[in-house]
């Protein structure tokens, strides 16, 4: 459910030129029309590893990894690496050039150094041509320049993730602890009323993660747990949806909770808000907009003036959940072409007591 970036990029929210990155990517990309692309109309049969590969007939697609890591001294980190595939047109003019493409790749990488209370991030773009970026088979590989996610010959796990920035680098091995879970209705995640305004969406909610991370000049051996979201779609949200709050929580009970609230322009919760709980014994419990409640407890104001709720009360009365979810670091804002907040959180019983889970929170449209 991380369509925020794409939607914003495609100009749905018409943001202004971002001084920090110089170029207004949203403007640059313009509104790529939906016509000519495939759309998510009805449930489909998913098959793996086939569906780890890209679905170029759809306009947008992403491989979204977030996770929390810890070194042997207990120093905690959060990380994000996302590859976005964005088709600029259903078809492109024929050009006698190896650079010719209609596909753009964007990647966001972030590291939250919890002990140092620092958040670092970087954004990259590349065309799907000349081997600069793309998704290939044999072995399974998603890459944008030297940021890579590589699997086995046929996409089998473990996958390795490698990325390098000036501030930090990651070299992690990801091994699923659970099978992929299809979100929405058998993987069809309806986002607004109109047919086709939906995505195909699956998650691997727990991946055992181990490797090394470099922060500045210091290398830490780390392990922890990641969450993979895969989604592809063509159509946008409705005009009256301005953003969302998205949670991916791994609870110590063994249950994993995914939940998003779509916010309406008028301030209310959109009825297409949804979520799911994958219980410890692998039962999937779907959640509708009426099955949960979210209340902001504390806000943090970004340097640009956006006011993000960084502590929440999350209730799922039917499942007897009453949680407090709070950021491990207030400033985990991604000041990329489009600013949003994406960061590591801890989960407590709202009534008080020891932490009962970890996760990631994404907030957009603030």
């Amino acid at each position: 459910m991380r369509r925020v970036l794409i939607l914003l990029l495609l100009g749905v929210y018409g943001c202004s030129r971002d001084a920090a990155t110089g170029i207004d990517v949203a403007d640059a990309l313009g509104g790529v029309p939906e016509t000519g692309f495939a759309r998510a109309m009805e449930p489909r049969t998913f098959s793996f590893p086939e569906d780890h590969y890209s679905h170029p007939d759809y306009r947008n697609e992403w491989w979204y990894l977030t996770g929390q890591l810890e070194d042997k001294n207990g120093a905690r980190f959060g990380y994000q690496l996302t590859f976005f595939r964005i088709a600029l047109a259903p078809k492109a003019a024929v050009r006698d050039s190896a650079w010719a493409t209609r596909q753009l790749w964007m990647a966001h990488a972030a590291l939250s150094d919890i002990d140092a209370q620092e958040h670092r991030h970087e954004q990259r773009f590349a065309r799907a041509a000349l081997g600069l970026a793309g998704q290939s088979r044999s072995p399974f590989r998603v890459w944008l320049e030297d940021w890579t996610l590589v699997g086995g010959e046929d996409g089998e796990f473990p996958w390795t993730l490698e990325l390098e920035t000036d501030d930090f680098s990651l070299a992690l091995t990801l091994t699923p602890e659970r099978a992929p879970v299809l979100q929405g209705k058998d993987g069809l995640s309806q986002k607004s009323a109109e047919a086709g305004n939906a995505s195909y969406y699956y998650s691997i909610t727990r991946l055992e993660t181990a490797g090394e991370l470099r922060r500045g000049d210091l290398i830490h051996a780390v392990d922890g747990r990641s969450w993979l979201d895969r989604e592809w779609s063509t159509s946008a949200l409705g005009d009256d949806q301005i953003g969302w709050d998205w949670f991916s929580l791994q609870l110590s009970s063994g249950a994993d909770l995914m939940l998003y609230r779509l916010r309406e322009r008028a301030g209310g919760t959109d009825p297409h808000s949804a979520g799911s709980i994958l219980s410890a014994d692998d039962r999937r419990i779907g959640l509708g907009a009426g099955d949960f409640e979210l209340d902001a407890l504390r806000w943090w104001t970004s340097p640009d003036g956006a006011r993000y709720p960084v502590a929440w009360r999350l209730r799922v009365p039917g499942e007897d959940l009453d949680l407090r979810v709070e950021a491990l670091l207030d400033d985990q804002e991604m000041r990329t072409s489009v600013s949003y907040w994406e960061g590591a959180v801890d989960v407590w019983p709202f009534a008080g007591g020891e932490s009962i889970g970890r996760g990631y929170l994404e907030m957009t449209g603030y």
Binding site: A28, L88, A89, R95, A100, F125
Partner: protein
């Protein structure tokens, strides 16, 4: 203090009484200063313009990767980004696009290489989707859109790489002057490769690297490419144009030198005129040092006023010179496009200081003379002027003249030293002039008494008696004219050398090449043109820009046939060095400027960078070449065949049968090209020669202009000297009138005297001019450009010099003579 004020008031009164004198002195100073300023501003503007065009090209990048030869393989870009993990990397494909008959640059690049940058050009992100996916999509800066009247969305009929193409302006963007990629059409790199037929090729890859990063990368790059720092290109431009700029600066200093004579004359006059009042002042207790100081203060005042006027005049003059400098730099070195002189306070102050220094130096002798005024002396005749006697100048003059060859011999290849030598020669010669004038006049008067009539006698004696007053001005005129002579002989010799060289070099009758910089012909053209009726042979020239010992230059590949139509005048090495090189296949010939600049000698090993690695070649000969002051080289075609994958031709030289119709053939070949969509240029031997000489002449236009300016300064000097002279001799000349000379006769007498003076100055100018030409040709030109020229004396130059000198003196005399002829006799006779 009060005493000083009184002295200054007296000075002001004096100059108020002689306004014309004052005006001319100021004009002379102003002209001298103006020439320095103008030259400095114009040459600086050319450099600044080059820097700016480099800025537009480089933007925030520091380095670029280029192929030693041809294009950069695009896969290198992926290697840099993906394998090396470099971020500040931008691929560039550059095309020339013709729209409505005029051409503009089109840059194809990867918008994603720019998009996330803080310093991205304004065009980088606009209409990204359209750029990537629509046919012929380009973004256009507003300035170009307005120039060609282009509108967003309206297709443009253009021609790219000699073929028609439809461009589709998907966005028009604002850009400011000098912005990175701000003055070109911008397209996605795939569009540019498609339009230009450049599949797989890049022109360059721009990078931003730290110094260690650059060194590390340079060591890992494949042999076929090189990493160059943009700053080095600035340095190269600086180095290339240094000699040219030094030459211009020297010319401008000559104007100051000539102006200094004028100041000397004017100040000496001012002293002589005021000798009685100085005498009175001395009687009243004014100290010699006060008078000395007074004169220096006067000079300083004149220098400041004249200098500031000169700065203003110079900025205007600089505008004019700029056009010439820019064109010459573009013709000789690299294309620059400077629009306005570049003002730098430092340069203005420097010019002002040089002017003031010259003025003060020129005033030293007159000021000493003023200081030596005896109390109550009442003489006011010219001969009372205590200028250094001609004889006393003999020794210093000789010493300076002798110092010139010594400086030149011991200074090796230093251009600056060569100019110092030149100035020593001029200064020494100038010091010898007064004695030469005096002796020659004495001899003439002696001889004239026997052969000539009274009129000639009278004129000669007049000139002789005027010498102390007019001497310095005549010397100044002689120096100015000698510069004209020297430069004229140098340019004349140069032109003849170039013309001869062109004649030797261009042995073909018709030359065929493609109308695009660096474009090449398929080798098949050689056979097909050779097969045309009327063509007896078609020799192929292959020219590549290659790196020799790390320096990029044009290298020509020679085969047996080409050697027949391109002869080489070997200046070092065996006469048949070309043949020997062809035979052993491992030899190389280099042009004279390169050999001189790099101090190469026969047998030296030179490293040629090729796509297949470095090749060591042995220097077999040095040939005369005026095509580039930077240098060039020739290797055997075998070398190209072995180390380069493509054997495309740069040009073909055709020899025609005696009966062939050249014009018809030219058209026929053009049509053949057009049939294949190629824009073939077919030109005759003669038109290349004419065009080359045209560029040659254009190159020296600026020298001509500066030379003329020096003569103008000298002219002002003569005018001022004659005015002073006749002012002093009013009474004497009035006596002549009183004794029966008509105004017309008096006018004629004065003009004759002036013309005679002019002849003398002209004659004095000739030996100095000849010596200067030797220095210019054999020392300065060689040290500047490395060219050897055939010295060529031209009688016409001598006649021109004499004519110029006489005309300048006579014209300068017209105004004073007229004033004299019509002046009131009584005033002149009884003026105290």
């Amino acid at each position: 203090m009060r005493r000083n004020r009184a002295l200054l008031r007296a000075s002001l009164r004096f100059y108020r009484q002689h306004p014309l004198q004052l005006a001319l002195t100021l004009l002379g100073i102003a002209l001298g200063a103006a020439v320095i300023v103008a030259v400095a501003l114009a040459t600086r503007a050319a450099a600044v313009s080059f820097d700016r065009s480099l800025d537009v090209l480089a933007g925030p990048m520091t380095h670029e990767i280029r192929a030693h030869e041809g294009a950069v393989d695009e896969n290198l870009y992926r290697w840099l980004r993906v394998d090396r993990g470099l971020r500040d990397v931008v691929p560039v494909v550059r095309l020339r696009v013709t729209v409505d008959g005029s051409s503009v640059d089109l840059v194809g690049t990867d918008p994603f290489a720019l998009i996330a940058r803080d310093d991205a050009p304004p065009a980088a992100g606009n209409a990204l989707a359209a750029l990537l996916t629509e046919a012929g999509a380009v973004q256009i800066p507003v300035a170009i859109a307005e120039r060609f009247d282009l509108v967003e969305g309206e297709p443009i009929e253009a021609s790219v790489a000699g073929r028609g193409a439809a461009l589709n302006p998907v966005a028009i963007f604002e850009s400011t002057d000098g912005e990175w990629f701000g003055n070109t059409l911008l397209a996605d790199i795939s569009t540019a490769q498609h339009l230009g037929g450049r599949h797989g090729e890049l022109d360059s890859i721009q990078l931003r690297l730290s110094a260690p990063g650059a060194a590390d990368l340079a060591a890992r790059l494949p042999d076929a490419v090189e990493l160059r720092a943009f700053d080095d290109q600035r340095q190269t431009f600086d180095d290339m144009t240094r000699a040219f700029r030094t030459n211009l600066t020297a010319m401008s200093l000559l104007a100051v030198l000539v102006g200094a004579f004028l100041v000397y004359n004017a100040m000496a006059f001012a002293v002589v005129q005021r000798t009685p009042s100085f005498a009175v002042l001395r009687m009243l207790g004014t100290l010699p040092t006060d008078l000395f100081r007074l004169l220096l203060i006067e000079a300083l005042g004149l220098g400041l006023i004249g200098g500031v006027l000169g700065l203003m005049l110079g900025t205007v003059l600089g505008q004019g010179l700029l056009v010439l400098v820019t064109r010459t730099v573009s013709d000789l070195f690299v294309s620059v496009d400077a629009l306005r002189p570049d003002f730098s306070l430092g340069q203005l102050l420097l010019a002002l200081s040089v002017t003031l220094a010259a003025v003060l130096l020129a005033t030293l002798a007159p000021a000493r003379a003023a200081a030596r005024t005896a109390p109550a002396a009442l003489e006011r005749e010219s001969r009372a002027q205590s200028s250094p006697s001609a004889r006393r100048l003999l020794l210093p003059g000789l010493l300076l003249v002798l110092a010139c060859p010594i400086v030149i011999v011991v200074s090796g290849q230093s251009l600056l030293a060569a100019f110092v030598g030149l100035f020593l020669l001029v200064a020494g010669y100038a010091l010898l002039c007064p004695l030469a004038l005096r002796l020659s006049l004495a001899a003439l008067v002696h001889g004239g008494a026997r052969v000539g009539g009274t009129a000639l006698q009278l004129s000669l004696r007049g000139v002789q008696s005027a010498l102390p007053r007019t001497g310095p001005a005549l010397v100044a005129l002689a120096v100015a004219v000698s510069a004209t002579v020297g430069v004229a002989i140098m340019i004349g010799s140069f032109r003849i050398s170039v013309a001869d060289w062109l004649g030797d070099t261009l042995q073909g009758d018709l030359y065929v090449y493609l109308d695009a910089e660096g474009a090449r012909l398929d080798p098949a053209w050689q056979a097909s043109l050779e097969g045309l009726p009327g063509v007896s042979s078609a020799a192929a020239a292959r020219v590549r820009t290659l790196s020799i010992d790390g320096e990029s230059m044009r290298v020509l590949a020679l085969d047996r046939l080409a050697a027949e139509v391109r002869s080489f005048d070997i200046v070092a090495g065996p006469e048949d060095a070309g043949q020997r090189m062809l035979e052993d296949g491992r030899g190389i010939l280099v042009s004279e400027p390169l050999a001189r600049r790099r101090g190469l000698s026969l047998g030296d090993a030179l490293i040629l960078a090729t796509p297949r690695g470095a090749v060591e070649l042995t220097l077999r000969g040095v040939y005369r070449d005026y095509a580039s002051s930077y240098g060039g080289a020739v290797v055997a075609q075998d070398v190209f065949a072995r180390y380069f994958s493509d054997q495309d031709l740069s040009s073909l030289a055709l020899r025609l049968d005696a009966s062939a119709d050249a014009a018809a053939l030219q058209q026929q070949i053009r049509d053949l090209g057009a049939a294949e969509g190629l824009d073939l240029v077919v030109v005759s031997n003669r038109s290349i020669r004419e065009r080359s000489l045209e560029i040659f002449d254009r190159t020296f236009l600026i020298t001509d202009v500066l030379r003329a300016l020096v003569v103008v300064v000298a002219f002002v000097g003569i005018l001022s000297a004659l005015l002073a002279l006749f002012l002093e001799r009013r009474r004497e000349l009035a006596v002549l009138r009183a004794t029966g000379l008509t105004p017309r006769q008096l006018f004629a007498l004065v003009l004759r005297q002036a013309a005679l003076s002019g002849v003398l100055a002209g004659l004095l100018a000739l030996p100095l001019g000849a010596a200067m030409s030797v220095l210019l040709i054999d020392v300065i030109n060689r040290r500047s450009f490395g060219w050897t020229l055939q010295m060529h004396f031209d009688l016409q130059v001598v006649l021109h010099a004499l004519l110029l000198s006489v005309a300048a003196a006579a014209m300068a005399a017209v105004l004073p003579a007229r004033r004299l002829a019509v002046s009131d006799l009584r005033d002149a006779l009884y003026d105290p």
